[in-house]
């Protein structure tokens, strides 16, 4: 326990030294603020975003798209994964499509979604959804195929049918597998939302990033990166709590 505490302290000191050196180099004009603004400038840009209240509609747009895509991706990916695992003829149809979708870097679909769905939130939700749904589909599909045969036999020999198998074996297994991939899925969902906004949007953190890039505002860009990082870490922490609760039997 003591040792762990010291690890945390060492990490904090190392981080503080790097930030301090960075700030000192910035103030000594060793770094060009156009490319590498000092930490104080980045924090200043962050404060400006919140002080003026301009950030809230952008946060709302990004979170709405990411969480909408995440929820939809989990539901659709799970349903398709279960259907494909339990009905071989569906697997024959779905698996090649999913493999093809998995083979392309799915963010390249962003411009297509903008053409199909417009520059509003729908195209961002669609991109987050595709990123998450493919991940969850393979998680659930391969998970069900690898489910412990002994548990299936146990349920069968106790008199349970297909519904009992789904309720007592497959669904709890699926929750465990999804929880194991939830953090990756959250990352994918935010990637989809931000990239979608970066391509074409009028709101969102991706839109702000695009704006900062076009105006050569590195401080704003790094502030936005920091902001996204912090929010995703908060969601990771919440996902971790949910995982510990749902998988308390482990």
């Amino acid at each position: 326990m003591e040792r762990r505490k010291y690890v945390w302290l060492r990490q904090f000191i190392a981080f503080a030294i790097i930030i301090g050196l960075w700030e000192a180099a910035g103030r000594a004009k060793l770094l060009n603020p156009l490319y590498a603004p000092s930490p104080s400038r980045i924090v200043g840009a962050l404060i400006d975003l919140f002080a003026g209240g301009t950030i809230w509609p952008h946060l709302e747009a990004t979170f709405g798209a990411a969480l909408g895509g995440l929820a939809l991706g989990i539901v659709v990916g799970t349903v398709l994964g279960i259907a494909a695992a339990l009905a071989p003829f569906l697997a024959e149809l779905l698996e090649p499509v999913m493999i093809m979708l998995n083979a392309v870097p799915r963010v390249v679909l962003a411009p297509l979604f903008v053409i199909w769905l417009g520059i509003g939130i729908a195209s961002k939700v669609a991109l987050s959804f595709v990123l998450v749904a493919v991940l969850i589909f393979f998680t659930v599909f391969t998970g069900i195929l690898q489910v412990d045969r002994r548990l299936i036999e146990r349920i069968t020999t106790l008199g349970g049918g297909r519904t009992a198998l789904l309720r007592h074996v497959y669904l709890p297994s699926i929750v465990a597998w999804i929880m194991g991939n939830l953090k990756v899925a959250v990352g994918f969902a935010f990637t989809g939302a931000v990239v979608g906004e970066f391509v074409a949007a009028s709101r969102g953190l991706g839109y702000l990033l695009s704006f900062a890039q076009s105006t050569y505002n590195s401080a704003l860009m790094l502030a936005l990166v920091l902001l996204i990082m912090v929010f995703v870490l908060v969601i990771f922490a919440l996902a971790g709590r949910l995982e510990r609760h749902l998988l308390r039997w482990r």
Binding site: R154, I155, T157, L158, G159, H168, A176, W249, R250
Partner: protein, 251 residues
């Protein structure tokens, strides 16, 4: 109660069992011993309908819920508590959740697990998990219990205790048992009849031994019965012959 007639089974393309027959009467304890690979577990799985026979038949007047099976692994659902695991089968057969939970608690108590109903399997010892698995099967009040070396992984003392509890229950409730085991002493001390399978592949039922020891049985005391040692010696010799014959055929 159960008749297995001329049963032939294969494991993939390999013929395991050929023309095996056995009978179990109401409340009878029957053990099946034999060399490794002689198809003992496969026979049990075929009786339970988990493996299709190549030929022969399994006939019984029992309904499916009257037959319970215990595997080597306890195969408890890790995400369900001990109580929920025991109540599982009861729920499948129409008990409401409350009644199934009460019934599960009473079985846990009977098997010495009082107060452990809220624990998950990982929070239980190996012996406790076996008892939960046993309670899960016994809660359905089976008339025939199939067991594939369920207590093999337990240490000697825990194994003796769980086995004695099982024998007491089987005698009291007149539950028929078909036990697969490698342990000849266990087979004799528990059983009314012991069947010996020959060396596989294409194993056959080579001997049947009627065990004349009286009931109720106390497992440790039974081993000091003067009839025990000669029976064990005979079974040991016959099994050794089967193993030697298999080794000679393989060479």
């Amino acid at each position: 109660m159960l008749r297995v007639a001329d049963l032939s089974l294969s494991y993939g393309q390999v013929p395991v069992l050929e023309g095996a027959s056995l009978d179990i009467d109401d409340g009878q304890f029957v053990s099946l011993v034999g060399p490794s690979g002689s198809g003992k577990s496969s026979l049990l799985r075929a009786v339970m309908g988990l493996q299709k026979p190549l030929a022969g038949s399994v006939t019984t007047e029992l309904a499916k819920r009257d037959i319970g099976i215990l595997f080597q692994d306890d195969a408890l659902l890790p995400w369900r508590t001990a109580r929920e695991n025991v109540a599982l089968g009861l729920g499948f057969h129409g008990s409401n959740r409350r009644r199934a939970a009460d019934h599960a608690d009473s079985w846990l108590t009977q098997l010495g697990l009082s107060g452990l109903g809220d624990r998950y399997p990982r929070q239980l010892s190996g012996g406790q998990r076996k008892r939960v698995a046993l309670a899960q099967v016994l809660a359905l009040k089976p008339r025939l219990l199939l067991m594939d070396e369920p207590f093999a992984s337990l240490d000697a003392i825990v194994r003796a205790r769980v086995t004695q509890d099982l024998v007491d229950l089987a005698e009291r409730e007149r539950i028929g048992v078909l036990l697969v085991t490698h342990d000849l002493e266990e087979a004799i001390s528990l059983s009314d009849v012991v069947y010996l399978l020959s060396q596989g592949p294409r194993a056959r039922m080579s001997q049947r031994y009627d065990i004349p020891l009286s009931r109720p049985r106390k497992l440790i005391a039974t081993r000091s019965d003067p009839r025990f040692a000669p029976l064990l010696e005979r079974l040991w010799d016959d099994l050794s012959r089967e193993v030697d014959r298999g080794a000679a055929e393989a060479a």
